[in-house]
Subunit: 348 residues, 4 copies
Amino acid sequence: MFFASDNWAGAHPDIARSLVEAAGGFASAYGTSDLDKRVENTFCEIFERDVAVFFVGTGTAANSLALASVNRPGGQVFCHREAHVNVDECNAPEFFAAGAKLVPIDGPAGKLQPDALAAAIGRFPPDFVHGGQPMAVSITQATEAGTSYTVEEIAALSAVAKEASLPLHMDGARFANALVHLGATPAEMTWKSGVDLLSFGGTKNGCWCAEALVLFDPGKADQMRFLRKRSAQLFSKSRFISAQFDAYFRDGLWLDLARHSNAMAARLAAGFAASGKARLAWPTGSNELFAIIDNDAMKALKEKGAVFYPWPAGPQVKARMAENETLVRLVTSFATSEADVDAFLTGL
Amino acid sequence: MFFASDNWAGAHPDIARSLVEAAGGFASAYGTSDLDKRVENTFCEIFERDVAVFFVGTGTAANSLALASVNRPGGQVFCHREAHVNVDECNAPEFFAAGAKLVPIDGPAGKLQPDALAAAIGRFPPDFVHGGQPMAVSITQATEAGTSYTVEEIAALSAVAKEASLPLHMDGARFANALVHLGATPAEMTWKSGVDLLSFGGTKNGCWCAEALVLFDPGKADQMRFLRKRSAQLFSKSRFISAQFDAYFRDGLWLDLARHSNAMAARLAAGFAASGKARLAWPTGSNELFAIIDNDAMKALKEKGAVFYPWPAGPQVKARMAENETLVRLVTSFATSEADVDAFLTGL
Amino acid sequence: MFFASDNWAGAHPDIARSLVEAAGGFASAYGTSDLDKRVENTFCEIFERDVAVFFVGTGTAANSLALASVNRPGGQVFCHREAHVNVDECNAPEFFAAGAKLVPIDGPAGKLQPDALAAAIGRFPPDFVHGGQPMAVSITQATEAGTSYTVEEIAALSAVAKEASLPLHMDGARFANALVHLGATPAEMTWKSGVDLLSFGGTKNGCWCAEALVLFDPGKADQMRFLRKRSAQLFSKSRFISAQFDAYFRDGLWLDLARHSNAMAARLAAGFAASGKARLAWPTGSNELFAIIDNDAMKALKEKGAVFYPWPAGPQVKARMAENETLVRLVTSFATSEADVDAFLTGL
Amino acid sequence: MFFASDNWAGAHPDIARSLVEAAGGFASAYGTSDLDKRVENTFCEIFERDVAVFFVGTGTAANSLALASVNRPGGQVFCHREAHVNVDECNAPEFFAAGAKLVPIDGPAGKLQPDALAAAIGRFPPDFVHGGQPMAVSITQATEAGTSYTVEEIAALSAVAKEASLPLHMDGARFANALVHLGATPAEMTWKSGVDLLSFGGTKNGCWCAEALVLFDPGKADQMRFLRKRSAQLFSKSRFISAQFDAYFRDGLWLDLARHSNAMAARLAAGFAASGKARLAWPTGSNELFAIIDNDAMKALKEKGAVFYPWPAGPQVKARMAENETLVRLVTSFATSEADVDAFLTGL
């Protein structure tokens, strides 16, 4: 009953096996091997266009490099207050982008709203040097609240960004979970909706360590290889990443895994509704869910070995909570079984 | 016949298998799992003392974080002119250490000399703020020239560093190769000789991606976890690194692999001496060797499929080369077979 | 009728003359001249203890270097949302401190509240590496809202900072104005209340360009001279700054100038109360005041040549404003005359 | 007899007076006053074209911002080994340019040679990410050896830079001294010879603190105002710099001052030749000269109160020195009198 995070799971067997298969033989290093190139082509196919792909080791690296690549002195990055780049990366984006500032914006259920975004950008008039200058908008898909932006919502935010000539970055640590939730294509959820830079995550969805920075305008990728190397993210035996992605993409494994973990989250949600002991804080749209749970039920679950974290509740959620209730986060993964979910619900 | 680099090899089968075995089950993330801790203990055993260990993804990350951890404003790092930190890391050390400068020092066969080091440090008197201030000495073991410092040579450099109150960093990308060449213990080759910070490399010696930063004074490790996270080098599924190291250290595999690749280099060297077509530029002390080779022989070898790189020759080597000769670098690895070596020598 | 900012004034005649007097002769450079040392001693006398003083060229430099000197990886600086370091320095603090983050905290009338500060710090538990770590508290005295913290208020914030082992920085761009408003001594308003680092501003109070970073623990000043030089803030003819401070401090000129500009602000405030066309948004405590003014009166004043800026009103002030009113900021200086003030009030 | 440095002099009386005259009245801040704009126009006239001008406080700031403005990740700046940016700025260029590396190149009498420059650049092939990438060439005029590049020499270096698509930066801390030595126009010595970025120094030639960064392509100045502000180099009372430059340029004062200090250096040189106790290490081309001097004569001079510094001699100079001789540097300034020079020569 491990619902603490999707990174508590290991790797999917197919992906682990792929590393065994790729282990033999010699191949040129630093991302130039045949396998690296083949997987880069797969990215182009998946996104239905030429893209520039840079493998990196962590989602933080992908996010920070994305922002560093559009860096400006005194640069302001507009993001949700709870965005991973803002609260969970130990200032890596600020460090990689030479002191950029993340401008936190509030929004319901983890989502930026176009009006609030426009207002935040508007506070940086071009002729006021003291405050710095806008440099990017960053959104997370699926969001830190477990919701997913619709394609239309992404396009609306993109319109605001484009109006201010700002690139739009998507932190896709749970890209696949949002994708299958929406039933959209990768192209629709990204460049067709105005996304310029994507942190494409594989780790949380069954890889060991496979993240990619995707630039939808390969013409802007010129400096990225230097940025990546300077950030110590160019792996010598790069095929250890491409071998993971190779298995990840084969026969749609990545979508199957995401569908499974989303289904497990939905099963949990359905069980909550039936239990009377817990209810969703807001509707979920991925493999993450936030529930208001009775404290006694929570205690009982923990005693039975369930692992999950309490979560700080904002004022609106707090207003709907009773005194003996707690907001908790539950995350499912490719490795979550129906038995796990049912044991949890029984415990509840 | 792949002698281009030891990072053209994949991973040793035991290490690949270890990743399969570790792939199942749930474990806490970000370096807190039981396996992570067990491998950290193994490091302590290997070095015969309490050490602080930080897993990272690349040797460049380990080097850059080591230097960043002893950073000072206007800091000067003293290293060999050909040091990897100086010429092969795209300014990552300078970037991680907020603009530190690497002071290149010449020395024969890739080795810093104590006198030259003392002279270089002496050019930064404490009361002259304009030039900056010394912050560290960095050496590579085995060196970029394929040689290895003896334990006594390390101690002599350490004495110069300590005289100037400077920490001594060792870039151990080929740590195991130097170790088995010297027949020393890990403790003797590091902290017993005055090394304070070690970049411990596993990747070139049979891992996929397994590097560790080792601090011999764990009391100074307090800020490193933040430095690592800020540099996007904290892996969520950290056990994918510890699982590699677990197999790497088991039953002395790491030493066996290093002995094998050193032996393959020695076999090449012996063949060169016998051939009359090539000779060592200087004695080797690891799995890397630099040879002066007849251009016709080189061409013939390339046609037969041998992969290796020409190397820029310094003035002293150049003086010993004939016009129709080239300096080349050959690197062996755990995956180099006797058959490969013999095919190469036959080709010669 | 220039009330746009205190930096629209030039320099006080005594200070300009001091530069003429110091212009002749030869003196050692980079802060080592007799005059530099004499003025450093004056700082020690003023603060009634040994202090380390570093002359710099701008308040932004003093603030950014203060924060850089206590920098930690992933460091969080706690400050008021409207703090100059947060909204008016184009990310200089973030840049100088290698990607530190400023955590904005709301508070009435420009002042941090101890409870809110403690709560903000509390969100960074020491064992949670992802969020980074607290590194400093920064307050502005006088504040950006024209108010001044009392000595007791400073001590209360300092107690919260010390509880978290954090240094307390004071941005004293309008230090003298706050000082004479409180009737406190420099020592009482700083180190006796727990301030560790002070940006001491002279420019806004009658100097051309004279700012100093004051460290109340000279034992921690070791790296500052390198930080200052690395930031291009070590002036070769440093006596051009010390000559300004020399005149500034002579016979209490600095306090007289501050008393004058505060008095001009008070005269404005009194006139507002009498006019019925404008009223203070909150009580002033320095040479800056914020007034709610009738739009027609504002227009008339502008037509008569009065120069001042509208200011964004927060929700609480907005609630007290009529539709035809605007929040404006007025700043007086040593060069503001009674005639200017009276002309303004007449215009009103 | 002060020959330690030209920054031991104070300010020329006309420049000090200009600050008194500008001290009164109100003017808009941060470089937007009428005087600021008028002086910017003077720069355009002097350089016979539209230029973008940014006042800053130190030469280090001008140099570091110039390089930061053309920054690339992993960037390599090619400069003379003795360049001020390389040895006298405490890593400020590296810090401002986020870890750029200065590649030191040897050259006789302080001058870069085109061949050596081309060779140094050639070591960074575009497809080799590990070593980083070229980003700028920086030369000093007059050089740190007191010599001046001819216009043709500058053009030859520029041709090499342009061939590699690199901008050419000139550190003009002693711009005026080189200019009057060559008898060239400012345009000829800069953009007509291919200089793209100029650090224009006024401080060493009679100002208190007046430096300017000049961009010859104003279309590339867009980000500089943010870079300057982020570096804490935007002065609120900016007219204190423009008032200095205003007097500096009036009636050719700047050229007169440079001619005077050069003449004083020439008078010293002539006296050396006549004395038999000292001789130039190489011909001088500005207000700095380097002489080989008899140790007994040096001692006698110091006892008579002459202030000057010994200088480290390179191997070629050392070969020409006797055992009882020392290399010394002497710098004259606008404030050096014939009487000072003659007293020195008599002492010799």
